[in-house]
Assembly symmetry: C2
Homo-oligomer: 337 residues x 2
């Protein structure tokens, strides 16, 4: 079979796209619901929301919700509402993160706050966040409301922790990991867990899906942080060096600084602690991060979390969805190469 | 009895304080819960939240929740959780409003975003908003979650509407009223309604409490908008002219512009439409707003909404709480004199 067109086509399809196909019409239904519920009589709201929602994001988080529910044989409609809610929470955090980070590019487009202003980004984020809760309420399931409201609080804590740890070379790997767990992995975990809960799966399966999402989310963020010091990032339509310019203490910097020759310490002190950077500093930082093996080590750890995510899938019966979820964990790391 | 000390003391107590006393330990319990739940392992969060939460706000919105439940004879604990949730939603909107409006004074203190930065204000607002939902989930009551998540979406819509209507002299009274209803009155209405719902009161009582909150909220905002052009505002520790400087289309401006002599129209065009203002313009605006009777008319309308709020209380059995709620409607208007 390996020579025929279909197989060749399959080989070119990412596991994310394969999982989209496996959840059948669920993702199309989720997209319809997202577009219906981001509507408002105030036109700026859907205009601004659409800027992010229709910008070609992979819908990875809602996909986890749909897949977890489907893998458990769920036949209801609640998982679609939850998936839309998860995407709204994610979009709201992106809008608020744009305000926060003054980042100029998001998914290759001019960020919303540059086009509409900080004010609108904050308020539209609030609107989408509220819509997310309205959708959860419609499921009538208090357990999923508990999971996702808890995740939302943890995400905000993670964002504040990240904010406070910028410009601080004393940030430890442990602190970095707690930031990543809170700001990114908590939503991946909650998305997968909520899908399993709405499908009334057993406690071990719920826990397994949560562990899958958590580990996948950490791997995802580690890779993201490595890519910010990589030329490949530019090919993906994102700027390189955003984290560097904001003096964010991501793992590549923590490791590069820890492993730095004595002669390079003043460089890190200047560009990170004082934030005093010139044009050429990013290139030097990329060189130092590469030379010290910090990128390689960051990717090695991402690989370990991806493997842990795959192992957690053992709670699910064998299925095409389970296979695709495992491949997504691999894909999440491999996209960096 | 009128000569004794107790009566004289009572006369000096505002109806808000009287209602605080009438709900007994409920407000103290609400305050304890607020302080317990704004805690986070990330110290900046309670530090920043405390700045607003402990700044001497009257807790009017949570008071409505407690009073509605108590007036209906509720004996559970859910109303305290809801009251804390309502105050968290209110505080989150203040934090996001500070970012939005670049206002320099809030309740007489330097606003949070000036002390901690816009970034922190957005994220701590998100945290409190999430905590609000966690508290609602704990009540186990989906109806109140529905009411308050709906209100939160409407508040965001109202804030966006307000943002988009600044600098526009074409804004109608009807549009202004829809902004006020959404950005302010929706939370007053939801706070009172949710208190009635958790107390499992009958549909007419729930509707009556909602109508009370809605009309009170509109009256409250009309008075606030009048005070922004009044010297009394300064005595309350707030800046005067915030709305003017932001070229907000509040009722005093809408009316003053509609009633303006032809000779004064260019003034309004310059200061509102172009936003080109000098120091002396606020004084002139205050004079014009006074001369055209715009403040008087704004207050007359506030009075009508306060009366509608009082009429809505007819659904409640006679009680000291009902009396205090009626007096709060009067007080809300009279604080301007």
């Amino acid at each position: 079979m390996s020579g025929d067109v279909k197989t060749r086509t399959d080989a070119g399809v990412s596991p994310v796209e394969r999982l989209h196909a496996l959840v059948g019409g669920d993702m199309a239904a989720t997209d319809r619901l997202i577009h219906a519920r981001m509507h408002s009589g105030v036109p700026l709201i859907p205009d601004l929301a659409r800027h992010l929602i229709d910008s070609g994001g992979k819908r990875l988080r809602p996909l986890l919700t749909l897949a977890a529910a489907r893998a458990g044989g769920y036949g209801g409609e609640g998982h679609v509402m939850l998936a839309a809610a998860v995407e709204f929470i994610h979009t709201a955090t992106l809008l608020h993160d744009d305000v926060v980070d003054e980042s100029s590019l998001r998914r290759g487009k001019v960020s919303a706050n540059l086009m509409w202003g900080n004010k609108s980004s904050v308020l539209v984020g609030d609107f989408l966040f509220s819509r997310a809760f309205q959708l959860m309420v419609e499921t009538g399931n208090l357990a999923v409301l508990d999971i996702l409201s808890g995740a939302a609080a943890i995400i905000a804590e993670g964002e504040v922790m990240q904010l406070k740890s910028a410009n601080n070379l004393g940030v430890t790997e442990e602190h970095y990991l707690s930031v990543v767990t809170a700001k990114t992995a908590a939503l991946f975990a909650a998305a997968a867990e909520a899908g399993a809960v709405i499908a009334t799966l057993s406690a071990p399966v719920v826990e397994g899906m949560r562990a899958y999402g958590m580990n996948l989310g950490i791997a995802f963020q580690l890779v993201d942080d490595a890519l910010d010091y990589s030329g490949r990032q530019a090919l993906m339509g994102k700027t390189v060096g955003d984290d560097f310019r904001e003096a964010k203490m991501t793992l590549p910097i923590i490791l590069a600084h820890a492993r730095a020759h004595q002669a390079d310490k003043p460089f890190w002190k200047r560009v990170i602690e004082t934030g005093n950077q010139s044009e050429a500093d990013l290139d030097r930082a990329i060189t130092l991060v590469e030379e010290t093996g910090a990128i390689q080590e960051t990717m090695r750890r991402a690989r370990a979390y991806a493997d842990a995510a795959k192992a957690a899938l053992g709670v699910l019966p064998q299925s095409e969805i389970r296979t695709a979820l495992a491949e997504i964990a691999d894909f999440c790391v491999e996209r960096a190469y």
